[in-house]
Symmetry: C2
Subunit: 247 residues, 2 copies
């Protein structure tokens, strides 16, 4: 809607295992879809190694540039989990065992008969001044510090944390989408589609080919925050496509 | 092996459709695995929108920092395909219809009875001085310009292009991996594993939890370019794990 602010975000995926190809990231796609639905534009994503300097540099660059920065990964109990400390360093705040997180973890460990080892208690290390983000699966919390939202890397845990933090987020105008599927190669409609873009310069347009079972198809995608403009652009495109025998 | 160089790379995924959650990226994981196998370290990945300024900035930052930069997406026939022009701009070289690419495309179009429309011929736009990368699926080539390797976004096409360019790449020492699977939570082995890291500071170690069908398991991953050190670190870790009843 006109007048609604544009809220932007970046995502930072932290983990050697993604960069080595050992683990396939399942969080980027989930975060992208979730943010689009609630009216936050994901503008860029980075994947960096478990390397403090790389994390600190990326956190500071991305948090300055967007309304929110979401990080995933590196908040577990093992020595390669350095995200909380790196985020504290990036924001210049102290980090220590957090009384609220400690209480949550101790209650959870007690109930399950698990020993609160120093490694496990590392998961209660939270930068000073952060809000905790609830982890409904395995208790060890994420946190939000200024505009940086620190989530787990395990997709199921990341997802419940994202649900928990969502009500705290400012959201803006939602990007609406219209998609038209065609049974032809994108090259066949490219000129028509380029002309259509010129007719509706305020509507973002993308063309996506796919190959499946030896057949080629094309999706024309229109995006706008203005539902009336989107409907007009879609209708006009359908007329053009029908006139040329594509629909 | 000692003495072999370390060759690093970055990947740049270009496309609004990934950032909106419309399309799930399938290239990062594939490129990560491929580069690891051939002895190139993928150090960072970025995803940016179909936005010239964003592409140019990312290309220049990443190509300066690594031996190679691989890009995916944005080289099709439609108006939102701006990667070739953005890469030419980033590297400060001219771009035009390339005679070699034009010949490939015209032969292909002729054989298939497809009209060589201006949009389709956009796919022959290649920056001056670039090597063409063969596309064994749909002919329209990728290219390599200086250390920037421009690949298609459609995964099947990206994969054949990556195979084609691989013999041209300098490769370095391969990162070897040993993985130990445990039927316990990562918190249980975290202290033991941190101690092990101190014993073998030259071997990179990561711990990856997973949840499946209500059961928790943990993978301990050791990484080194030195096979003897890796074997020693693995053997010593297995001894420690057995002594504590984890194996």
């Amino acid at each position: 809607m006109a007048g609604e602010p544009i809220v932007t975000a970046a995502a930072l995926v932290i983990g050697d295992e993604i960069l080595s190809g050992r683990t396939r990231d399942r969080n980027i796609d989930y975060i992208a879809g979730h943010l689009t639905r609630i009216g936050i534009r994901l503008k860029e994503v980075r994947v960096v190694a478990d390397d403090e300097a790389a994390i600190v540099a990326a956190v500071n660059e991305l948090r300055a540039r967007h309304t929110y920065l979401f990080t995933t990964g590196g908040i577990g109990p093992t020595h390669d989990d350095i995200t909380a400390d790196a985020v504290a360093k990036a924001l210049g705040v102290a980090i220590d065992i957090d009384a609220r997180a400690l209480e949550l973890l101790q209650a959870y460990f007690k109930k399950r008969g698990v020993e609160p080892t120093p490694a496990r208690l590392r998961m209660a290390r939270i930068p000073h001044g952060a809000k905790l983000i609830r982890n409904a699966i395995s208790v060890a919390p994420g946190f939000m510090l200024a505009n940086v939202i620190v989530l787990a890397g395990v997709p199921e845990v990341m997802q419940v944390m994202l649900d928990d933090v969502t009500p705290l987020l400012a959201t803006g105008s939602k990007l609406l989408t219209a998609t038209i599927w065609l049974d032809c190669a994108e090259g066949e409609v490219a000129d028509l589609f380029a002309t259509h873009q010129q007719t509706f310069p305020d509507v973002a347009m993308g063309c996506y080919p796919s190959f499946s079972e030896g057949r080629v198809s094309t999706q024309l995608v229109l995006r706008s925050t203005d539902s009336a403009r989107l409907a007009a652009a879609r209708q006009d495109l359908e007329v053009k496509l029908k006139a040329c025998g594509f629909l």
